[in-house]
């Protein structure tokens, strides 16, 4: 066997074979008595043209080896080239279906299947103490220190701290935002990260607090031009000096999904205790010892946690220890959004396949003659099926190539718009894995089509077709299959359309619901004041300086210093209390309200309506802490059925009660898709020691003009301060960016699906009319009016669409319950939505069936019948 495989039909072999033939012939002539030269001549004469024989034999070998395939391929390419419109429609459908599926599954792959970018990632775990009442997962530093010291199952336990606002200001003449992460010294050992240059942190760095800094590769390139001499130099952030000790490798990925430019050491006190007045808390990651399972590690830390809980029962009430693999932690909070997209992409691929299958069946129907002729002159069924499948394969290959373009664009869009919504998305890249997924999807598509050519080739009956030669009737058959495919397409697109329009309505509600304020012409200015030099008097001086300047800029109507904005509550919060009731015993989320320090002009600047009483006045500032203004949500929550005006609230055992003087309208202070939270406006005008200065400005000037003037002034009077200016519209736009992306994406999917379904309906009817021309001609000859014929064809379309739409709506009603958490302002079963979707589809389908119907109605019976 191996000899047969290895013995290639070489040119020399063939020549030798023919040489041998001549030699034998020569010998035979010599045996009959001819001299050698005569015998050779005779042999050659009898043999004829050696070149021709060689050529003919060579051809046999060549074609059989791979010639059949390339012949099929060439033929398929020619066929596809001839039907250009068909080919474009089919390739585009496949490209969209394959592209959408590949993009979405690449994201799935990145999140769930790609190995984490760390050494031995299976050993890495995430550990926290879960506090359901506070809704947080953190480990207090004393527990971390004890665990790190006493555990028996870990190689390393690392701590990180990422506060929500990890932004710092880079010092120097050109202030910039820098995002910082704080890690324990053993962080790099834990994750198996070695620096690209310099060193990592040392254990003693933890004791001194943050002094050493490591730069991420990106930050190092952007800010330091990738210079190696930055090692050992000083970086000033928020006014504090840090020494650059190392540079992280390019492949480094921070284990928490936040932006990080610089890493510092955490200050970890070995003697910290839960009895201390304030305790820092960390996110903890551990590398377990080889051979130790996650549950063993959990048991190990579990005993330690129980001991701590016995010592501080009040502190850990209701808390529990959570320990899971890093992979589970990183993938745990994947939103429903991804599953929605996967389902939508799968739908789209199914519709694309159904559509292309339909187009192919119609086309092959039209080519029945050609196929029959090929069968008649000796092509077997297998051969024909292979030929048809080659066409399909060529279409899929072209579709996949085009799909790669879509995928590249789509993944860019994802990273840009959905980066905050899905974990690990920063690791997405168009690479061979993505290509592999595309190939897998393409193969799946091919498998879906696999049966089609065999089915078609199996139905070829040369005699029947050829006997009809000259007739226009096309023997296509498959009408049931084609109708079923179109019904499926319609149903799937109804599902997609329903989901897309529900999301669209959500977006509309988010942007157009009563905001409670007028966002036009409102700017927010934020100026971080960082560093030791900004003590309270200094901050106050800067604040009033800037406020005065803002009011001087031409166009300013009002400017206010407030640590909240209409779309975000302040950073502070209080537990609600009132003087005429007993004090609340403990901190509870249901009794909290956000607090916003603001001044008299805030209401006017933000454009918020006053409901009752009065707002804060300049007069109040002379005796801060005396009055409070509630929003309507707070008035409803804490003073149901009574007027809050004049009530004493927010005091403590030591007194310090504040009098409620007014109620203002609610704003979307928790973001656009959530109801307003209770909020109180206070006149504590002194900017607190760590918060940034925030101004709300109502101006007639353009944003750019005001920002320019302000920066100019800041450079002159307060050099080194960073100024961020944003319109409220921009801020709202950012809040709606990711829902908008979801909606646009799904709407795009739905639109494509819709289009394909309509094309499908049109295709089936047009084909059916062509097929039934003779029948229609006879009907008309027998007296059917054009109107009746029109109605007949339209009815056929209506049945298809109705069946599809009904099953689609049934499925959508069932499926949209999983969408509930993504919706706002509209219910998953909203009848209006379904009515609109169905109506639109019905109209489009009617239009699609009208064209073929009209063609049927203008059939000239005389012409058709004569043609027969």
């Amino acid at each position: 066997m191996w000899r047969r495989l290895f013995r290639k039909p070489s040119e020399a072999d063939l020549a030798e074979e023919l040489e041998a033939h001549l030699a034998i012939e020569t010998k035979q002539w010599m045996d009959r008595g001819l001299p050698r030269d005569r015998a050779e001549m005779e042999a050659r004469r009898l043999f004829g043209s050696r070149a021709l024989t060689l050529e003919a034999t060579r051809e046999v070998r060549g074609i059989a080896a791979f010639g059949r395939f390339s012949q099929d391929l060439r033929y398929a390419a020619r066929v596809l080239q001839r039907g250009r419109a068909f080919t474009i429609a089919a390739v585009l459908s496949l490209a969209l279906g394959i592209g959408a599926t590949t993009a979405v599954f690449s994201i799935y792959d990145t999140i769930f299947l790609r190995p984490l970018p760390y050494k031995d990632p299976a050993q890495l775990t995430w550990i926290s103490i879960h506090s359901p009442s506070m809704g947080i997962d953190l480990v207090p530093s004393p527990n971390y220190v004890a665990w790190r010291r006493d555990n028996k199952t870990f190689q390393q336990l690392a701590a990180t701290q990422v506060t929500f606002s990890n932004m710092m200001v880079l010092g120097g003449s050109n202030p910039a935002e820098v995002y910082a992460g704080r890690v324990s010294a053993n962080f790099f050992e834990t994750f198996g990260v070695t620096p690209a240059a310099g060193r990592t942190f040392r254990p003693e760095d933890e004791l001194q607090g943050p002094q050493a800094a490591m730069l991420t590769d990106r930050f190092w390139r952007e800010h330091f031009g990738a210079r190696h001499d930055v090692l050992g130099t000083t970086l000033t952030l928020d006014g504090y000096p840090f020494t650059i000790v190392g540079i992280l490798p390019k492949s480094f990925v921070y284990p928490v999904d936040v932006k990080v430019d610089v890493l510092f050491t955490l200050a970890i006190s070995p003697t910290a205790s839960l009895r201390d007045r304030s305790v820092s808390a960390f996110s903890v990651f551990g590398r377990i010892q080889p051979g130790v399972t996650v549950s063993q590690a959990r048991a190990d830390l579990g005993t330690q946690f129980e001991t701590a809980r016995k010592d501080f029962p009040g502190f850990f009430r209701g808390n529990s220890l959570v320990l899971e693999s890093l992979r589970d932690y990183r993938t745990g909070n994947v939103g429903k959004f991804l599953y929605l997209l996967m389902a939508a992409a799968a739908c789209l691929l199914a519709i694309a396949c159904a559509n292309v299958a339909n187009l192919l069946l119609a086309r092959w129907g039209a080519r029945a003659r050609e196929l029959a002729v090929r069968a008649a002159i000796g092509a077997g069924r297998g051969r024909l099926a292979r030929q048809l499948f080659t066409e399909v394969a060529l279409l899929i290959a072209a579709g996949t190539a085009l799909a790669m373009l879509f995928v590249t664009a789509a993944l860019r869009g994802f990273v840009h718009f959905a980066g905050t919504e899905l974990p690990r998305l920063s690791e997405v890249a168009t690479d061979f894995r993505v290509f592999g997924i595309a190939v897998a999807v393409a193969l799946l598509t091919a498998a879906l089509f696999g049966a089609l050519p065999a089915l078609r080739a199996g139905r070829i009956d040369p005699q029947a077709v050829l006997q009809q030669a000259g007739r226009t009737g096309v023997s296509g058959g498959h009408s049931f299959l084609r109708r079923a495919l179109v019904t499926l397409e319609v149903a799937l697109s109804v599902i997609l359309l329903s989901c897309a329009s529900l999301l669209f309505e959500t977006l509309w509600h988010m942007q157009n619901d009563h905001l409670g304020f007028q966002p036009e012409h409102v700017l927010t200015v934020s100026i971080p004041l960082r560093g030791k030099s900004f003590d309270t008097p200094a901050r106050q001086a800067v604040a009033s300086d800037i406020l005065a300047y803002l009011r001087r800029i031409p166009g300013t109507e009002s400017a206010s210093l407030a640590d909240c904005s209409p779309i975000s509550a302040g950073v502070k919060s209080f537990t609600f209390s009132r003087a005429d009731r007993p004090l609340p015993e403990s901190f509870g989320l249901s009794r909290t309200l956000g607090a916003c320090d603001s001044d008299a002009e805030y209401l006017q600047a933000a454009g918020i309506r006053l409901v009752q009483g009065r707002f804060l006045t300049d007069e109040d500032r002379h005796h801060p802490g005396a009055v409070a203004v509630l929003n309507e949500a707070a008035a409803r929550a804490f003073f149901p059925g009574e007027s809050p005006l004049g009530k004493q609230i927010l005091g403590g055992r030591a007194g310090g009660w504040r009098t409620v003087v007014g109620v203002v309208a609610d704003t979307k202070n928790q973001g656009l898709n959530r109801p307003a939270a209770p909020e109180v406006f206070l006149d504590d005008s002194a900017p607190s020691g760590f918060a940034d200065l925030n101004f709300v400005v109502r101006t007639l000037a353009r944003e750019g003009a005001l920002a320019g003037a302000l920066r100019e002034e800041m450079r002159r009077s307060h050099p080194g301060l960073l100024t961020k200016v944003e319109t409220l519209d921009q801020a709202i736009g950012q809040l709606t960016a990711s829902p908008r992306f979801d909606t646009v994406l799904l709407a795009a999917f739905a639109a494509i699906a819709f289009l394909m379904a309509i094309v499908g309906v049109y295709g089936v009817l047009a084909f059916s009319v062509t097929q039934r021309r003779a029948e229609i001609g006879i009907r008309m000859a027998l007296g059917a009016s054009p109107r009746a014929v029109l109605a007949m064809v339209m009815r056929e379309g209506t049945i298809l669409v109705t069946l599809g739409a009904l099953s689609g709506i049934a499925a959508a009603l069932f499926l949209t319950r999983y969408l509930a958490t993504l919706l706002y302002g509209v219910r998953g079963t909203d009848p209006a939505t379904y009515a609109i979707v169905t109506g639109t589809l019905a109209l489009a389908a009617a239009a699609a069936s009208f064209l073929p119907a009209r063609r049927a109605a203008i059939v000239d019976p005389a012409l058709t019948l004569r043609h027969e």
Partner: protein
């Protein structure tokens, strides 16, 4: 020399298989055997014989091997494979059918 008859499409394969059922033979021998057994009526063009042999080998009906020939040099000997034997039986019965059918058609019709 008697008149030569060009071989019908497809019959050459049958003849080659038929010749090979008596044992391995090289191209020259196969051509000669066909000529002899047809009493010099069937002349096989070498330009058809060798492509046919290679085609049959591709289909797996015959296998080939290099052996010493009577001319004292290497020649490629072809032999029937089991698959080829089955094919030969099929072709034989199909051929007989064809011959009978053609014969019936050629017979003058007696009314």
């Amino acid at each position: 020399m008697p008149d030569r008859i060009d071989l019908m499409q497809g019959t050459l394969d049958l003849l080659i298989l038929q010749v090979l059922q008596w044992g391995p033979e090289h191209g020259h021998g196969i051509g000669q055997a066909i000529r002899r057994r047809s009493q010099e009526v069937l002349q096989v063009e070498h330009g058809s014989l060798y492509p046919a042999l290679h085609r049959l080998e591709q289909k797996g009906w015959v296998a080939s091997d290099w052996k010493m020939s009577e001319a004292n040099r290497r020649a490629r000997y072809y032999k029937l494979t089991p698959k080829g034997k089955r094919q030969l039986l099929q072709e034989q019965s199909r051929w007989r059918q064809l011959v009978r059918a053609v014969a019936r058609t050629m017979k003058p019709v007696k009314e």
